[in-house]
Amino acid sequence: MDDFEKLEQNAYIYLLFTNICALVPGILIWIYGSSKGISPKTTFAVAIICIVVSFIITTRVASGFILRPLQMLWQAIVHVSSDTTNLPPPNIDSLRLGRTLILSLANRVYQLSGQHTNTEIDHGNISQQASDIVKLFPQPIFAFDKDQNITNVSTSTYSYLNLPEGSLIGAKLFDKLNLEFSTDNTLEQWITDCQDNKVAGQALWQRVRVKLADDQPTKQCDIVACYNRDNTNGNEFIISLYDNSEEYNKDDQALSFVALAVHELRTPLTMLRGYVEVFEEELEGKLNPELTGYLHKLRLATDQLTAFVANVLNVVRVDENQLSFKLSERDWKTTLTNGSASMLARAQILGKTITFNIAENLPSVAVDPVSISEVVNNLLDNAIKYSGASKDIVITSTLNQEGFVETTVQDSGVGIPENVVPNLFEKFYRNHRTRHQFGGTGLGLYLSKAIVNAHGGNIWVKSKAGEGSQFSFTLLPYASLAEELKNSDNDGITRHAHGWIKNHSMFRR
């Protein structure tokens, strides 16, 4: 019982410490008395009284502290037994002393409480029956222990993953099961979180891609997982996969249909841009100011359409993990101003002022200039759209305390209500109250997040309804990627929207 020995040892150290503490006032009084020439008898008497009093106090405190694990266990037992009052379950997380031991013991109490009425049941037999039942389940089920060794699976798991029967037992879970999550909160993370902080837990993921060997099509499922610390038969974790490939693939095809439709737009768009360019070249200076203005607006409208088409296609690429970036060394001031030229022209026509406030001596950054310009343009586009009556939009770039180049786009417009802020970076999300008032696809921020994350940075928003919004993102200085550059081809680092996020969590805030 390692945990018990630990508790014993800690309790011993604690008691020793409090005892020493109790002696201190007495010793101090003794020293004080001797130095002032007070009679030794009086000093001794006062010191003894002092020591006794502090012993009473420290022992009281220490016993409370040392007995807290027992109190938690008692609470757990009272909580599960049927004749209780309304006592709450123990808050074991708050425990300092013997936390692991009590977590484990409390869990056993909870497990046993389900069986206590029928003491005649043979526990070994139950285990066997449970294991047999798991095998019969129609969907793939994995049970595994604390080291992620698979202890049991349903028979259907083999056919689902197209693996020979028997090949899963004893294997490491993630060697056999290749999952791709659309969020950062993966099964692996949840497992770690459970083992560090929980006695029991459940979790659900939707739209998880299950990658199969070779050229077999990827499946998509929902996954349900549950955790029981120190489960008696060793199955700490059980996860089941609910295949939803058919439904989810339909959604994906709908997305691919968007991709198809969008690229059909590209050909007329190419022509439109071409002819606008011809007009600009041939007619510049020959038209009256009114017509020049119209031509200018025609150009901006085609630019806007081009950006929209690029946005939609990039979202499809992000979702299919096909969006790749080539990071190279760039001067941020130049990249930022060049990349936002078209948006500046648009702002001007709409009567908005964009002010650049870029710190001098910023380090060069590692960016894919085209993609990062999309981020800047999406943020500026939002700022213009939602700036309301206010005119000023400010772009600020500084080197922040963590050594990232931090860029903020700030408007003083309508702002964002607090309750919708967490959803802003989701696909197709737009505030329902402003949806009819403003155009847009609800893809810009989703895409911007994917791009910034793939660059190793982060993006966030500060906003207050009625007071404007402040969108910020960070970029890595090029120097911090030097190590990685050594191992790449010499024209930059190629990264994908998902892959890079996963492997470089250390760069994230």
Binding site: R266, T267, T270, M271, E277
Partner: protein, 132 residues
């Protein structure tokens, strides 16, 4: 990058534009001629194959979706039949290709451009960077 005709060498570089969309051909021919290139236009794959094999061009702009023979097939045959081709072949397309397909094409071509990403003038500027 290199719009100024005076900065180009005396003999104009020859560009073969393989593209079945009339409007795009018109625009490319105009922009490339203006940038000092001598431009020839063909509109189907078989014809393109013959023209490219004649090896009289410095640059070939090759669309993928073409009548009679698709661009990727044209490219494949040329690389097989004429490994020492002088011309640089740039794939120009508006297709949305999967990464694998794109990588396969890029391995055989000298460049790859999404037409919608560049205006005709920008296309001419892009070709100037090829240093042919």
């Amino acid at each position: 990058m290199n719009e100024d005709q005076t900065s180009l060498p005396a003999t104009p570089k020859r560009v073969l534009c393989v593209e079945d969309e009339h409007f795009i051909n018109e625009l490319y021919a105009r922009a490339l001629t203006k940038a000092g290139y001598q431009t020839t236009v063909v509109t189907d794959g078989e014809q393109a194959l013959q023209e490219i094999l004649s090896d009289e061009y410095d640059i070939v702009l090759l669309d993928i979706m073409l009548p009679s023979l698709i661009g990727t097939e044209v490219l494949k045959r040329i690389r097989a039949d004429k490994p020492d081709l002088k011309a640089k072949i740039i794939i120009t397309t508006n297709l949305e290709l999967s990464e694998e397909n794109r990588a396969a094409i890029e391995a055989q071509a000298d460049g790859y451009v999404v037409k919608a990403d560049l205006t005709p003038r920008q296309m001419a500027e892009f070709l100037a960077q090829l240093n042919v």
